[in-house]
């Protein structure tokens, strides 16, 4: 009897040990295979960085590359005492922005949410790789579930998001040093969501937009913009719509009219930075690093200054400089910020000198 009991408990123990080993190894394998986005394409690492933050922001930016490359929270803090964060990723679609906003508002209630409206032009999911860069970084919540459901392309499966190993299994033959180096930790790739570039590539011959068959924004895009508006109203957050000062993708006049009308109808502030280029002092021969698609640090600082003035004076956001906790946190962040400026500037200069030689 005793022996039988012993044999049974041994079996149970063996089963448990094997199960733990299998699950553990699968977990490790999954972590290994998931792209780390630490070098080259860093956009996929942006969304997850938010969770390491203290959730006490005055302003949260939501949107695509037109926010995370065109506005710098470090300057907003330094010059206006505004504590802000950018929740943006590459080609972030409007429903992804909505669900990111929904998730953000579960963590905190900022005074202002700034949404860049370029993604209004997309009415259906566009690209699996971009979906992944936005969605993989999100923590699991109802917001992520809904965002995944809204974003999936035809050949995507929800289960692939739950178990990313099913999606990234083919990377087994493409693993590199980064996959092992960043298995358990990741470096920061942004500065409160801002992706910094100090190099310059002047905007020359920016193409005009091709005529479209239909300039109306889609129903789905409007649906999520409505949801965003309603959510902000419900939470007592002021929603500001912006069109960042990127020259390309082309922003059509017909789109502008629709956005102005929407803002008017919903009593929202709408700022089109394309019309404020002069006021901001933007010079697209020096303030962009990719020929007008995105601003470089110099351009982002100019646009941010304008915005900082607006937020302080028009919206009435008070400076929080002097708050000990924030000062301590920002000191560290600013050190990293300036260190990165120095590093990139040096690299850029070396590149230029090399080019001249």
């Amino acid at each position: 009897m005793e022996e039988k009991k012993l044999s049974r408990s041994r079996k149970v123990l063996t089963f448990c040990v094997v199960t733990i080993i299998i699950i553990g190894s699968l977990y490790l394998l999954q972590k290994l295979l998931v792209p780390k986005y630490m070098t080259d394409i860093v956009e996929g690492a942006m969304i997850a960085e938010y969770y390491d933050e203290e959730h006490d922001h005055d302003v949260v930016f939501i949107g695509d590359c037109e926010v995370y490359e065109n506005f710098t929270p470090a300057l907003l803090w330094e010059e206006y005492g505004i504590n802000s964060y950018i929740r943006g990723s590459a080609q972030q679609l409007i429903w992804q922005s909505y669900y990111l906003l929904e998730e953000t508002l579960k963590y905190e209630t900022p005074d202002v949410v700034i949404f860049n409206i370029l993604s209004m032009k997309y009415n259906v999911p566009q690209n699996e790789a971009y979906n992944r860069m936005t969605l993989d970084g999100m923590k699991w919540s109802s917001s992520k579930v809904n965002s995944v459901k809204a974003s999936m392309m035809e050949d995507e499966k929800f289960l692939d998001y739950v178990f990313p190993v099913l999606r990234y299994h083919t990377r087994i033959t493409e693993l590199n040093g980064d996959d092992f180096k960043y298995l358990f930790h990741k470096d920061k790739v942004t500065h409160n969501g801002y992706y910094m570039r100090v190099d310059v590539k002047a905007a020359e011959n920016v193409p005009k937009g091709r005529p479209l068959a239909d300039y109306s924004f889609g129903e789905t895009a409007y649906k999520y913009l409505d949801k965003m508006t309603a959510l902000c109203k419900e939470k007592g957050v002021q929603l500001i719509l912006v069109k960042a000062p990127s020259l390309y993708p082309y922003w059509y006049d017909q789109w502008e009219v629709q956005m102005e009308e929407y803002a008017k109808e919903n009593d929202l502030v709408y700022i089109n930075f394309l019309e404020l280029q002069e006021e901001c002092g933007l010079d697209f021969t020096t303030d962009t690093y990719d020929g007008g698609l995105h601003l470089n640090l110099s351009g982002a600082e100019k646009a941010t200054k304008w915005l900082g003035e607006f937020l302080s004076k028009e919206i009435g956001l008070a400076s929080r400089r002097g708050e000990e906790k924030l000062e301590t946190a920002w000191k560290k962040k600013l050190d990293a910020y300036y260190e990165e400026i120095d590093r990139q500037t040096k690299e850029w200069q070396e590149k230029q000198n090399g080019g001249e030689k």
Partner: protein
């Protein structure tokens, strides 16, 4: 619902869990419900067809059995009064009634299959003939649904009916149990074509959860997925590229494509059957094996005894033998012997029956000429092989040791593989003239350097894919070799527990990591699903 989809895995898992949780007497009912849900999910419009087949076969089989019972009872009752001749006469008279019922049921079911599967083929041929004769008139094609697995469940049901008619066993009394025999979901998609007396008992009996049986079933499923997802679906990429570019890919490319397709088809079909048998095994149900290492066959006849065995035996039992012994054929045999001599006279009925079998085999695979030509190609090769038998005997008499020599075995196996692969090209290109043309280019376009100059890397597969394919095929080959001395799973069971875990978990990881699935791969149905 693809066998390789998450939905299918979830469906099987849920069915298995429920199967062992519910009272055992309900197990077969659950399987029936699951089978109909599976079929409904595949296409609600398919349901009426399987329903008609099930009901018509059940009712007519029941009627035949009751008529047979009446005959038996009458004969038993009047045994003393009736002479042997009278009994025979009475039996023959009553058998005719059963024969008419059998014909009616065959007419309904083969009719459904023929109309749904072959109408457009017939229309295409009529149109082609009209054009040949200068007519501009054309018949319109019809848009019929082709229910999933119709060829399989129709043949399975008709096999059952013929067996009942032959008095092999009595018709199943319970219509729902019979419905399960027709629709059992793991084998509905691509067979095997089971016999009622093989499957029924194990299908309806109560099964107690047995961890060893379930584990064994899961192992078989895993092995099936390995063949399907790691080998077949990866090979498919190159095969598709080669087939879709006949102008570009000729000569040695055709040779490569021919072998690639042979391997793909093997891994695809045997993998699918492994999954089917594995699922049944996890439920405690034993499904007939369909393959016996076919690529180890030394000749085509042997190959067909080892490939898709349930289909082969179906055609033998229900087409070849009935045709061979039917009255007209016996008369023809007599006539032939009288007029052409014993040697030729003996062959004519056999060849005629074989011709019908291979024609039917061809057209069963698909409603197009390429399948018919493929079937008849097999017939021709088998007949030639039979006619050359005396030559082989002479050879073996002269070289008695050759039969046991390894090189000769390899030669014969290689020859069979090449022959079968050549015939499969009809299946591959799906166009008879094109297949002949492409086959010809192997001898006219001399570009064998493409096999090693890197051009095979332009077919959608990278070096790593070829490495995975090579290692995968080596594993399949090793397992096949080990199978010669018994079940490989049985051998693994005798190993130490940690080794077993490493082997099966390792295989799982191989499927997980090297399987051709997910974004970037087209989810592909099993090749035999379309038949």
């Amino acid at each position: 619902m693809l066998f390789t989809s998450y939905e299918f895995l979830f469906f099987v898992l849920a069915t298995c869990v429920l199967y062992y949780v519910i009272p055992k007497k309900w197990q077969w009912m659950l399987l029936l419900a699951a089978s109909y849900v599976f079929y409904f999910l595949a296409g609600a419009s398919y349901l009426p067809y399987i329903f008609v087949t099930t009901v018509s076969t059940y009712l007519i089989a029941r009627k035949i059995t009751s008529l047979q019972a009446v005959v038996d009872a009458y004969i038993k009752e009047h045994k003393k009064e009736l002479s042997r001749e009278e009994r025979k006469e009475y039996k023959a008279k009553e058998k005719k009634k059963q024969w008419r019922l059998l014909l009616l049921c065959l007419f309904i079911n083969i009719g459904i299959l023929a109309v749904l599967k072959y109408t457009n083929f017939a229309i295409a041929n009529v149109n082609s003939m009209l054009t040949t004769f200068g007519s501009t008139a054309k018949l319109d094609f019809v848009d019929f649904v082709l229910p999933m697995g119709i060829s399989f469940y129709t043949f399975q049901s008709m096999g059952y009916l013929i067996d009942v008619y032959r008095g092999k066993y009595e018709a199943e009394k319970n219509p729902f149990r019979f419905a399960l025999f027709v629709s059992f979901f793991p084998q509905l998609v691509q067979g095997p074509i089971s016999r009622f007396d093989d499957l029924a008992k194990t299908l309806y009996e109560e099964h107690k959860f047995n961890s060893a049986t379930v584990a064994s079933g899961l192992q078989r499923i895993l092995w099936g997925y390995f063949k399907k997802m790691v080998i077949a679906d990866r090979m498919l990429v190159a095969v598709n590229t080669l087939i879709k570019g006949p102008e570009e890919y000729q000569g040695a490319f055709v040779f490569a494509g021919m072998l690639f397709y042979a391997l793909e088809l093997y891994a695809d079909f045997t993998g699918g059957i492994d999954i089917t048998i594995g699922i049944a095994e996890t439920l405690g149900i034993k499904v007939t094996e369909n393959f016996h290492r076919p690529y180890f066959s030394k000749n085509i006849k042997e190959y067909w005894n080892r490939w898709h065995m349930t289909m082969g035996s179906w055609f033998t039992d229900y087409i070849f033998y009935p045709i061979s012994v039917c009255q007209p054929m016996l008369k023809l045999s007599k006539f032939s012997r009288k007029h052409f001599g014993e040697i030729i006279g003996k062959r004519i009925p056999v060849y005629l029956s074989s011709f019908v079998v291979w024609f039917t085999t061809g057209i069963w695979h698909g409603a197009s000429w390429n399948f018919i030509v493929w079937g008849l190609g097999n017939f021709v090769v088998i007949m030639i092989s039979q006619e050359l038998e005396p030559l082989y005997r002479m050879f073996h008499k002269k070289f008695p040791k050759a039969d046991k020599a390894l090189w000769f075995k390899i030669f014969r196996v290689g020859r069979t593989i090449l022959l079968m692969s050549s015939l499969r090209m009809f299946d591959c290109y799906r166009d008879v003239p094109l297949t002949f043309k492409m086959f010809g280019t192997m001898f006219t376009t001399w570009n064998w350097n493409v096999l090693w100059n890197g051009q095979l890397l332009e077919l959608g597969l990278e070096v790593k894919d070829y490495i995975i394919l090579f290692l995968g095929m080596m594993l399949v080959f090793t397992v096949s070799m080990l199978q010669r001395s018994g079940s490989v799973r049985g051998k693994i069971r005798t190993l130490a527990f940690p080794v077993r875990v490493i082997i099966w978990y390792g295989l799982f990881l191989v499927v997980l990591l090297f399987g051709a699935y997910g974004v970037g791969y087209d989810a592909s149905q099993f090749i035999y699903n379309q038949f």
